[in-house]
């Protein structure tokens, strides 16, 4: 620090002669000390700039030293760049909470769109996290392959990437893809000498794969059920079975599982759900579900004349894909953004919804926004029917979308790609901090800004900088919970049941085996 302070002082003395007097110098020093005390970390960056240029001068004299200093300068600069963010907030937020009209977090007792509402919450330590839902944030969505366990099978590796980029999205798609990838991983497995396949395979070979998939995106309920089934299957294998036989058996069982629990089930559900679609029906659906799509297409093939309204939401725009495939099949489809929901719900005669999971209290967990669709439909007396395979039934219970949910990276809400070099070199501006101060009070848009914010007075902040905008939080939940009373019927392979029968079916299908 001593060495950093020096050059800064030099620049001060250079300015001095204009106004003269040691007083100024004193004041400047005091000012600086105060600043330093206030935000130590913040200081590092501006103070660090002059030495870098100094280093350049010295280079000619002693090259080795120059290089060294340069490096040091860079290292600390980098540190300085990273650190300001947390410290900034730490500094200003305390002030704000006292001054600003802090709003108590009204926790909805049971609700639907609750999760979409709290886009602004009490600002606390971390700007990127919405406090109320902080328990839902994944540890870290894996940005690249570095640090992945090397036991992960290539097929699973690829699947993880496809899942995290939403190339494979949707509960049943992910479940099927996972099982197929596991089949490959199991085939590639060889049992070590001193152990047996049933004892070793799950804990040492499958669990790294599962952990990796979980790090790509939290597991879906259907995946959880399938994994539980698979583990049970493997553990109960006869240890004396020859290895290749055991592997073949497991793979065949997986095929059978996929076939019975998903492929055939889908057909059964589609067959029974399509009876709900009659001539001149208007089917409203939300986002995209594979079963709903299948149901609609089958009904169309049967020759039923009806119309489909697809309501869609950001940021995945799954409804677009559904509308595309319906139109390709020659159906009359109307595509409406979520904001147009109230308008189209009047026309609908039937609402068909897919599910991420059916919870044991009869509530539906599905793509965020589903609850609003169901509520609207319920108000308009349009029957709401959920199509859901029993693999997706869950023993969990939730009253609201806060306890069980998945938070996707908020960046996904942005419309255009993040410019590459946005936060690059703000350090250069830092020396003008003194001039920036005078302009500070004039800012009305951001009253909470302190001195550190004034360093870049000219820069207009966009949503891309949401990280650094105080009082702004982005929230991108994946699911919400639809209350059971809005759901008229759940169609699964065991037949059409009321939401209250979900735990029974769950016990039969997922725990009875």
């Amino acid at each position: 620090m001593a060495e950093q302070g020096e050059p800064a002082e030099q620049s001060k003395t250079a300015d001095e002669p204009k106004v003269s007097a040691a007083e100024l110098k004193k004041r400047a020093k005091a000012d600086k000390q105060a600043r330093r005390a206030a935000q130590k970390e913040q200081e590092k960056a501006p103070a660090e700039v002059p030495p870098a240029t100094n280093g350049a001068h010295q280079e000619h004299l002693t090259q080795a030293q120059g290089v060294q200093q340069d490096q040091k300068g860079k290292a600390t600069q980098a540190k300085g760049q990273q650190q300001p963010k947390p410290s900034k907030q730490g500094g200003q937020e305390v002030r704000q909470e006292r001054g600003g009209p802090s709003q108590p977090p009204n926790i909805p007792l049971r609700n639907k769109a609750a999760s979409t509402a709290p886009s602004k919450k009490l600002p606390k330590k971390d700007n990127t996290v919405v406090e109320l839902l902080s328990h839902l944030y994944p540890v870290q969505r894996r940005p690249n392959l570095a640090g992945v366990s090397k036991d992960v099978h290539p097929a699973v590796l690829a699947l993880g990437l496809q899942i995290s980029t939403y190339e494979i999205c949707g509960s049943s798609a992910r479940c099927v893809a996972m099982l197929l990838a596991f089949k490959e991983a199991i085939q590639a497995y060889t049992t070590p000498r001193d152990t047996s396949l049933p004892r070793h395979l799950v804990s040492h070979h499958l669990s790294p794969q599962i952990d990796y998939l979980r790090s790509c995106r939290p597991l879906a309920e259907s995946m959880g059920n399938a994994i539980r089934w698979l583990k049970k299957l493997i553990v109960e294998l006869d240890p004396d079975k020859p290895e290749h036989e055991a592997k073949d058996f497991v793979c065949e069982e997986i095929d059978r599982f996929v076939h019975e629990r998903i492929t055939v089930t889908d057909q059964a559900i589609a067959a029974s759900a399509q009876d709900q679609i009659r001539n001149d029906s208007v089917v409203l659906t939300y986002a995209k579900s594979a079963i709903v799509e299948k149901t609609i297409l089958q009904a169309h093939e049967q020759g039923t004349r009806f119309r489909v309204i697809v309501v869609d939401s950001r940021p995945l725009f799954e409804g677009k894909r559904l509308a595309t495939s319906l139109m390709r099949a020659g159906l009359e489809a109307q595509y409406v953004p979520f904001s147009g929901l109230a308008h189209v719900v009047k026309d609908a005669t039937l609402v068909l919804l897919g599910a991420h999971s059916m919870l044991s209290n009869g509530r539906l967990q599905s793509r965020v926004g589903t609850a609003s669709v169901a509520l609207r439909a319920h108000k308009a007396d349009v029957p709401v029917i959920v199509c859901c395979e029993s693999v997706k039934f869950s023993g969990k219970v939730a009253l609201d979308s806060i306890v069980l949910n998945e938070i996707a990276p908020p960046e996904e809400l942005l419309l255009s790609p993040i410019p590459e070099k946005s936060p690059n070199h703000p350090a250069g501006v830092a020396t003008t901090a003194v001039t920036g101060k005078s302009a500070a009070p004039g800012k009305s848009a951001a009253p909470g800004k302190d001195a550190s914010e004034d360093d870049e007075p000219a820069k207009l902040k966009t949503l891309h900088d949401w990280n650094s905008i105080p009082n702004l939080r982005l929230l991108n939940p994946m699911y919400d919970i639809t209350p059971a009373e809005y759901i008229r019927m759940v169609i699964c392979e065991y037949g059409s049941v009321p939401p209250s029968s979900v735990p029974v079916v769950h016990r039969l299908a997922n725990e009875g085996m």
Partner: protein
């Protein structure tokens, strides 16, 4: 290069093609001793760069394919070269197929029996002259996540490929107008489902619809009165074609297994970049072309070769559960019936379904690196100027840099440096056991291992490969000096000139530039050796007093040189003694 942790295996194997290096012929005229892939680039053999790149991706199953006569030096280098042996992981396998000539095309190479047998799964084809700062796993991630078929089915015949193209322009110090380029026409690949996270290459991934080298393009233009004929079907299928002429193929291809059969079926294919990829790209939209190329049968999985029968087997048919079809971010393909066109154009993601939906050619994707100086570097080194500029670029990287190419030591501790010698640290690279005399001035240069540099030498923008001897008082600017070449300086003239007379016939082809020198041979040494922008072949001796600019100095008679090589190999020590 110890990697902290081994990345997981991506299930790919790598083929590194170690070709002859035609455009570097000053340095590679004798592949039996110094093949192109062992030429030093910033004091590492060229081969190190693709090898290290693969290792960083987690690919350890690497096959080096080389013509038979270059195989022994390659194997020797893999065993003994300190830089290559420091790479972790198993040593790559060297494959020297019998039929492989120096002139064979790359697709021809794929058809060879040995290579066909060596390819057991999806593979990456690299060229040995590939240098990249971009992390291979980032490129690979795109390939993996964008594969249309569920990658889980590892023998799936619907996987696509991924190539990498880099901009040749917009890079100060490295780009030059003379760089070779390719002609690439691309269409946007389906938009990402959500904004990709920062650092993802997804924004740069496009689908290739046409690709050819600029040479072929020029030929086509000449044939057609400076017009490029493009089929209407391309425009009918893709409304938004982007044509680039300043990008260059990095010769890195992530290819699915079926490409092996595809190359084997089409005897006419000569090179991978032009023919295999070129026709594949066209087959995606040109009607009937896929069938003509036999793609339908290749994709249908007619396993032309013996093995794999055991793998596929019974389950294949009914197991066609397609997870991607269930995915909520995909729309179902069109059924047999033709839908009304009016609908299709209104929705962004829809494309007019192919006339024969049975045969969907997997997409050939390409990562088109945006042209911007801040982008990490991707380059191929196939000309001498590129070799020099890239070596100097790497020399400029600070040792702490995050770039995987940076050297740990800018000046190796084992180098001996005389007094009052100035070496500009930030842009020089001095390798092991280098001896530098007094009062030298070295700027922006790369000095290879075991070089000996006399006193009062000035080197600017020079690349000296291993074991170069530079005499006193030599001045060189922008020169590339081959392995164990010798540039004589003023003080040694008396001795050297006599020597030159003696064995000149055996090992020294005399460049024209030396006429002046020979006229004065034995004479006094007023004029120093001054070389500007010269290329000096390995083992060549530049006599004292030579002044040259922009010349290539190499022996005329290849046989004489070969003979000379052998001599030199034995008695480098001798040379030292003579001094």
């Amino acid at each position: 290069m110890p990697h902290a942790t081994h990345p997981p295996s991506p299930g790919l194997q790598a083929l590194i093609l170690c070709g002859p290096g035609l455009s570097l012929n000053t340095f590679t005229s004798t592949p039996s001793t110094l093949p192109k892939c062992l030429l030093p680039v910033a004091n590492r053999p060229m081969l190190w760069y693709p090898l290290d790149w693969c290792h960083r991706m987690g690919i350890y199953d690497i096959t080096l394919i080389t013509p038979a006569d270059a195989a022994p030096p390659l194997e020797a280098a893999l065993r003994s070269h300190p830089v290559l042996t420091s790479l972790s992981g198993p040593r790559p396998e060297v494959l020297a197929p019998k039929g492989l000539e120096m002139t064979s095309g790359t697709a021809e190479l794929l058809r060879l029996g040995e290579v066909q047998r060596a390819i057991k799964g999806d593979f990456v084809v690299l060229s040995c002259d590939f240098v990249s700062e971009i992390d291979g796993s980032r490129v690979m991630q795109q390939w993996m996540s964008l594969n249309p078929a569920l990658a889980a089915a590892s023998f799936s015949r619907r996987k696509g490929g991924l190539a990498v193209y880099y901009p040749t322009h917009g890079r100060e110090g490295i780009s030059s107008k003379k760089d070779e380029t390719d002609f690439v026409a691309t269409v946007p690949f389906s938009r990402p489902n959500v904004m990709p996270p920062t650092g993802s290459l997804r924004q740069g991934v496009e689908e290739v619809v046409m690709v050819m080298p600029t040479d072929t393009l020029n030929d086509t233009l000449d044939e057609n009165k400076q017009a490029l004929p493009i089929r209407q079907t391309l425009l009918a299928k893709h409304g938004n074609v982007k044509i680039r002429t300043k990008h260059r193929d990095a010769h890195v291809y992530f290819l699915p297994l079926w490409v092996k059969d595809f190359a084997a079926r089409n005897e006419k294919f000569d090179s991978i970049s032009e023919d295999v990829l070129g026709w594949w790209a066209k087959a995606g939209w040109q009607q009937g072309l896929a069938e003509k190329l036999g793609l339908d049968e290749v994709l249908a999985g007619k396993r032309s070769t013996d093995d794999e029968a055991a793998n596929g087997g019974s389950v294949d048919e009914h197991e066609e559960v397609d997870a991607t079809a269930l995915s909520s971010t995909r729309s179902a393909p069109a059924p047999g019936r033709q839908p009304p066109q009016a609908f299709a154009t209104r929705v962004g993601n829809s494309t007019v379904p192919p006339p024969r939906p049975k045969l969907a050619v997997p997409p050939l994707l390409a990562y088109m690196q945006p042209a911007s100086p801040t982008q990490p570097l991707i380059r191929r080194i196939d000309t001498a100027p590129q070799l020099a500029s890239l070596s100097l670029h790497i020399a400029r990287l600070p040792p702490s840099d995050t770039s995987p190419l940076a050297h740990e030591h800018k000046i190796h501790p084992s180098a001996t440096i005389g007094q009052q010698t100035r070496i500009s640290q930030e842009d020089c690279l001095i390798a092991e056991n280098v001896t530098i005399g007094t009062r030298c001035n070295i700027k922006e240069s790369v000095v290879g291992a075991n070089c000996e540099i006399g006193s009062n030498v000035r080197l600017t923008k020079c690349v000296l490969m291993d074991g170069v001897v530079v005499g006193d008082g030599v001045q060189m600017v922008g020169c590339i000096v081959g392995k164990r070449a010798r540039v004589e300086g003023s003080s040694a003239v008396g001795v050297k000139a006599g020597e030159a007379e003696v064995d000149g016939a055996a090992m020294k082809g005399k460049g024209k530039a030396k006429q002046k020198a020979s006229a004065q041979s034995g004479g006094e040494d007023d004029d120093k050796t001054k070389l500007t922008e010269c290329e000096i072949a390995p083992f060549f001796v530049v006599e004292a007093g030579t002044e040259a600019k922009g010349e290539t100095m190499k022996a005329f008679d290849p046989e004489g040189e070969v003979g000379g090589d052998e001599d030199e190999d034995v008695d480098v020590g001798d040379e030292d003694n003579e001094e």
